[in-house]
């Protein structure tokens, strides 16, 4: 499969460095988050502080210390934060090895120290990097080197369980090799460990969504309460996210952050290609934007991403800046059409999709959307044509089935007449051949033998 450049769905609007925000330079910022009132928080990891900005990205407060039981306490390179719907703020205070729970005014509520767990990981230190809290106040932590999965802790910081671990897929070659090797040799072989999560967020429906580094498949997962992956990936790219690559390429995506917009589109931030990938909730790729570089709208090492009101905010921990993207005209059309399409209002989505096609005639999903609309209107033949352009085999098959029935119904007498005529014609032909003394069987079996004595 070859990628064809598409129009940009999101275009860079502005880039903010520390001075633009009214403070000193950022230093390796690693996370950002919106609170329910629309204020934006930036976790400025290198400076061990958190910036609070209002909707217009003007600085409201700088939080670098807080009151911990009467004493002044500070962060030590926090890497993640999470704000619940009620406005409670959780900060993963990474180098201090603890999670801090604040109320919406940054008054400390509780300190959640290292949960008492014994893991497989080699690192003894507990370094929580990202934290997420679901609707029933369960806390999930991504900790450095915690290969067993997410660490689920209770409200008092007690360890509950490991949640939704990645699994190691058995490799046929390795298994075969291990049968042959001696015990000593086996012990010296590389150990295959599950990959750790790199980030965790909570989506609109309250499900956890995770990212995993350096895997080809299932780099983005949505976990149900059992810890199983329930991400839908009906799109053409299947369950491989990021750059569309062939199997033998070594570059693997490194998704570091996710965001979900109000239409359940999933945005993934990939550090390998420095791009943002936007998938709809069925798993079809809508856009990709960004790229590696120093210019506006390009990144060196993007670290965090948020979306609000069709504006995408991306942090870069090497450029130390915040880039704001807005949806382009094309992007807005696609998002609108996609919203209607996801809701199942195919007929309403017909017109927006047609506008999308006018702007980018290679947009697969638009053809699929148009096809579904036409299908619903009963224009099966046109639907077939559009599904074909979108390579939507299942839908094409369905439309063809309907079209076939339609044709059969309309032309039933004609079809029967043709069949009867053909049968009669064949009969007449054979009768005529019989009269002429010609027999098919004889022609096929034939009698063109060599004469005796003729050389081979």
């Amino acid at each position: 499969m070859q990628g064809v450049p598409s129009l940009n769905g999101f275009i860079p609007e502005d880039v903010y460095v520390g001075a633009d925000l009214g403070t000193t330079a950022l230093n390796a910022p690693k996370d950002l988050d919106f609170d329910p009132e629309g204020n934006l928080y930036i976790v400025d990891t290198g400076n061990s502080r958190i910036l609070k900005l209002n909707e217009n990205l003007e600085l409201i407060a700088v939080i670098d210390s807080f009151n911990n039981g009467g004493q002044k306490d500070t962060f030590n390179q926090p890497e993640g934060m999470f704000i619940t719907k009620e406005g409670n703020i959780y900060v993963a205070d990474t180098q201090n090895g603890r999670i801090l729970k604040f109320d919406s005014e940054f008054n400390l509520v509780r300190v959640l120290d290292k949960p008492d767990y014994r893991g497989l990981s080699t690192t003894e230190d507990y370094k929580p990097q990202k934290v997420a809290v679901d609707d029933s106040e369960r806390i999930f932590v991504v900790a450095f080197g915690a290969i067993e999965g997410l660490i689920q802790i209770g409200q008092d910081g007690e360890f509950i369980r490991f949640f939704g671990s990645n699994v190691v897929k058995p490799n046929f070659f390795e298994l075969a090799l291990r049968k042959i090797l001696t015990k000593e040799q086996r012990e010296k072989r590389m150990i295959f460990l599950p990959t750790e999560y790199s980030n965790v967020i909570v989506d609109n429906a309250g499900f956890l969504m995770t990212t995993t580094l350096n895997v080809m498949d299932d780099a983005i997962k949505r976990l149900n309460s059992k810890g199983d992956n329930i991400m839908r990936h009906d799109g053409r790219t299947g369950n491989s996210y990021g750059e569309v690559t062939t199997e033998w390429t070594e570059t693997k995506p490194q998704f570091v952050d996710l965001a979900v917009d109000k239409d359940d589109n999933v945005l993934g931030l990939d550090r390998t290609s420095c791009r943002v990938y936007v998938y709809n909730s069925f798993g079809d790729l809508l856009f990709q934007f960004g790229g590696r570089g120093l210019g506006k709208g390009l990144f060196q090492s993007p670290s965090a991403l948020e979306i609000k009101d069709n504006k995408v905010y991306v942090l870069d921990d090497r450029n130390n800046d915040l880039t704001v993207f807005k949806a382009s005209e094309f992007g807005e059309k696609v998002l609108l059409a996609n919203r209607l399409y996801i809701d199942g209002s195919y007929e309403e989505s017909l017109e927006p999709w047609q506008d999308v096609i006018k702007m980018n005639s290679n947009y697969d999903l638009a053809y699929k959307g148009i096809g579904k609309a036409l299908f619903k209107m009963g224009r099966y033949k046109e639907a077939m044509k559009n599904f074909k352009l979108a390579y939507a085999y299942r839908d094409y098959s369905k439309a063809m089935g309907e079209y076939r029935t339609q044709i059969m119904r309309e032309h039933f007498p004609l079809i029967v007449a043709v069949i009867v005529l053909v049968i009669i014609a064949v009969r007449v032909l054979f009768w005529w051949l019989h009269k002429k003394g010609i027999y098919i069987k004889e022609i096929i079996e034939g009698y063109n033998f060599r004469r005796k004595g003729e050389s081979k």
């Binding site: 085999y393 299942r394 098959s397 076939r404 022609i443 096929i444 034939g446 063109n448």
Partner: protein, 208 residues
């Protein structure tokens, strides 16, 4: 020409009477080689047409990546390899057939596949994915039938027992792998040689 065409038509008889017909093809029919080659050309033509016109649901190859030459080569090359390798093995294991006869019998054995192409195109355009089973059963059935016919043809041509035929067929398939391997080695060695000659040439040009 008329004889050739009639011999070609005889392939339809082969389908249901393999033992009798392969013997006839070997010993008694006229112009069998020309007829077999015509059948092969016909098959290549039909496959090319089929690849272009089969129904969307049963035609997974991207039209942009379609290569008619590759379609034809992928039919003819295995056939040539099969004939050569099968002959090379059977001569050592007292098979009676010549390379030409193996070639002819194999192509005659492919008749069910040749016949299946056009009905395949037609039904592929009318079936939905839910009914794809009919299509695959039909096409696969014809394919395995051909396989059996090829095997029987081989058996008649060489005057072998069935067991021996199957054994030699398996050896031939192993031979395929060996040939491909040797070909790759040969190719890479040849490449080295060309680079070597190039370098010497460049060296001479530089010095003189």
């Amino acid at each position: 020409m008329k004889d050739t065409l009639r011999t070609m038509l005889y392939s339809l008889h082969v389908i249901f009477h393999p033992f009798e017909c392969f013997w006839e093809v070997k010993h008694r029919r006229k112009n069998t080689f020309a007829a077999a080659n015509l059948l092969l050309v016909l098959y290549c033509l039909l496959i090319t047409i089929s690849n272009q016109t089969s129904g969307f649901l049963f035609n997974y190859v991207n039209p942009e990546e379609r290569n008619v030459l590759m379609d034809v080569v992928s039919i003819v090359l295995p056939l040539i390899m099969w004939s050569v390798l099968n002959w090379a093995l059977s001569t050592l294991l007292d098979g009676k057939g010549t390379m030409k006869e193996i070639w002819i019998a194999t192509i005659y054995g492919m008749t069910p596949m040749i016949i299946s192409v056009i009905p395949g195109i037609i039904i592929s355009r009318f079936l939905t994915l839910d009914e794809s089973m009919f299509y695959s059963v039909f096409m696969n059935g014809m394919f395995y039938w051909s396989l059996i016919l090829i095997l029987l043809g081989n058996m008649v041509i060489h005057e072998y027992t069935l067991k021996k035929t199957i054994l030699i067929a398996l050896f031939t398939l192993i031979g395929f792998v060996a040939v491909v391997l040797i070909f790759i080695i040969f190719l890479s060695t040849f490449q080295q040689l060309i680079i070597f000659i190039n370098t010497i040439y460049a060296e001479f040009k530089y010095r003189l």
